[in-house]
């Protein structure tokens, strides 16, 4: 189906996830978090979250463990660069890294609070 009936004449986006497009397709390298090195995971408490703070696209969650939304992660690698424990590595998308199971997360803002 085409876009003939789309309501806007001017290109525009509203505030909301992905209204600028699913930018995950731009990625050539995928950030993978090694949970054994990740500070909040190791401590089990709200700590570090440098990756969450630095991510320019706000696709890393402030949860234990942190998760990355690959629908929108552009693979800029700032998180890998900033992680003080080198827990994040960039892996070529062409190597098709095996999907990491979504870990059971708790959140400081979401419905399942960290205790």
């Amino acid at each position: 189906m085409g876009t003939r009936d789309y309501r806007y004449k001017t290109s525009h986006s509203l505030s909301g996830p992905g209204d600028g497009g699913r930018t995950g397709s731009w990625r050539v390298q995928r950030p993978i978090i090694d949970l054994e090195r990740c500070t909040p995971v190791k401590r089990g408490s709200e700590a570090c979250f440098i990756c969450w703070l630095y991510c320019p696209d706000a696709v890393i969650s402030r949860t234990i463990p942190p998760t990355i939304d690959y629908e929108y992660c552009k693979g800029c690698a700032i998180c890998a660069e900033e992680c003080p424990t080198k827990a994040i590595t960039m892996v070529d998308e062409t190597e098709r890294p095996e999907e990491v199971d979504t870990p059971d997360t708790c959140s400081f803002e979401g419905p399942r609070p960290c205790t």
């Binding site: 876009t3 004449k9 001017t10 509203l14 497009g21 699913r22």
Partner: protein, 419 residues
């Protein structure tokens, strides 16, 4: 009300009557008196508008883009290098589908520095997606400003109202200033197709992907290509809409009639001279002289240059034996842009001879789709005149056209060249 004023004042009076809300402009000769007059209107309380003095033409149009995005009626004006300095925002305004109106008071572009009239400035903005209208006298300037807002706001595409620097901008002519009450009937309040609203924030014209996408509301949104296709489609549609608006204008004001073209003595003409702006009125005198010598000549003024009224022009030109296009601008390295446009329009048309022989099957559209040269149609010869304000003497025009019609014109076709 009849007044005797210069062309810049005619434009300023049109802007005032149009109820423009935001004006942002930077002075450049020969446009300066137009925006000075507008600032005087505002200072005197005769016009309720925000006048934004800016540090450059780029900022002038950027301010108009912002104003228009909030739903305000916005206007700017410039000339020559000022227009070129604006160029990036000129594209932007059209792509953003903002109905801004800009007067371009035509002047040659540097280098070398030159402040006199030709059409290189606006012709070089031909491919930006703006509508371009060319005025031939002061009445057309003031009327075109009003029509420009009506057209722009109907199709959501910005409009340039172009008129000749000095020849029109600084000369005095009598013209009729429309009554405010009539203008209100003609030009309705601006209702933008979309306006920024602090209660519902949106980003306009951010990165728009090569492909279509699902937007946040779950609708399939255009990609860049679809937006650009629609600009082209709506520009072509503007040829029809501009004529409808012209008809409404004529009903209310009793003037005008043809939004696209102004043919003069073309019906029986063997040779037709095509041009833009005030030159086409000067050519009417040439037509009288040449007709008195037995040469059947007519003039076709192009009132709307973009979108290009190709089919309407072909309808006027196709029965002629020859077409001369006189231009004050060039696509350097080839020929005048209007010459190329006229030739392209005539490509695939049917000339008088084809009609007499029973013609080709189908209408022009069919023929164009098949391609092929104009069958028994007119030859087209491009001529250049008035570059950088070089005097265009009526006698020179007459001599050149007479030679071109009756003998072989073997010079480069630059009228008045002294090399």
């Amino acid at each position: 009300m009849h007044v005797i004023e210069n062309g810049n004042v005619a434009a300023a009076l049109g802007v005032k009557l149009a109820g423009v809300q935001v004006i942002a402009a930077y002075p450049i000769t020969p446009q300066t008196p137009l925006t000075e007059k507008l600032s005087e209107f505002i200072e005197a309380g005769e016009m309720k508008a925000e006048y934004i003095p800016v540090e450059s033409e780029h900022s002038a149009l950027a301010a108009c883009i912002a104003a228009s995005s909030t739903g305000a009626r916005a206007f700017t004006a410039t000339s020559a290098n000022g227009l070129l300095y604006m160029h990036e925002q000129v594209h932007w305004a059209a792509g953003a589908r903002l109905p801004i109106v800009m007067c371009v008071v035509n002047r040659a572009v540097g280098a070398p520095w030159n402040i006199w009239n030709d059409h290189q400035d606006s012709i070089s903005q031909r491919d930006t997606g703006w509508i371009q209208m060319y005025a031939c006298d002061h009445q057309q300037i003031i009327d075109s400003v009003l029509k420009a807002f009506a057209i722009a706001e109907t199709v959501s595409i910005p409009v340039m109202v172009c008129y000749d620097g000095y020849l029109l901008s600084h000369t005095y002519m009598p013209f009729e200033v429309p009554e405010e009450k009539q203008v209100k009937r003609f030009l309705r309040p601006f209702k933008p197709h979309y306006a920024l609203d602090p209660q519902n924030p949106a980003n306009l014209n951010t990165v728009t992907l090569p492909d279509v996408r699902m937007d946040v509301e779950g609708e399939m949104a255009h990609g860049y290509m679809e937006f650009r296709y629609l600009l082209q489609e709506d520009l072509r549609q503007t040829l029809t809409i501009a004529q409808e608006i012209e008809d409404r204008f004529t009903q209310i004001f009793g003037r005008g009639g043809n939004a696209l073209l102004e043919p003069h003595r073309c019906n029986d003409a063997d040779y037709i001279v095509v041009g833009l702006g005030s030159l086409t009125y000067q050519l009417r005198d040439v037509v009288e002289t040449l007709r008195s010598e037995g040469l059947k000549v007519g003039v076709l003024g192009i009132r709307m240059y973009r979108p290009f009224p190709d089919e309407a022009a072909v309808e006027v030109l196709r029965r002629a034996r020859g077409v001369f296009v006189i231009e004050k601008a060039l696509s350097y390295g080839y020929e005048g842009a209007l010459s190329s446009d006229i030739k392209a329009a005539l490509y695939g048309c049917r000339g008088d001879g084809a009609d007499a022989a029973g013609g080709l099957p189908g209408d022009r559209t069919d023929v164009t789709q098949r391609g092929g040269p104009c069958v028994d149609g007119p030859f087209v010869r491009g001529l250049i005149a008035g570059i950088g304000g070089r005097d265009i003497r009526t006698a020179d025009l007459t001599d050149t056209l007479r030679t071109a019609i009756t003998g072989a014109l073997d010079d480069p076709g630059w009228i008045g060249l002294k090399i």
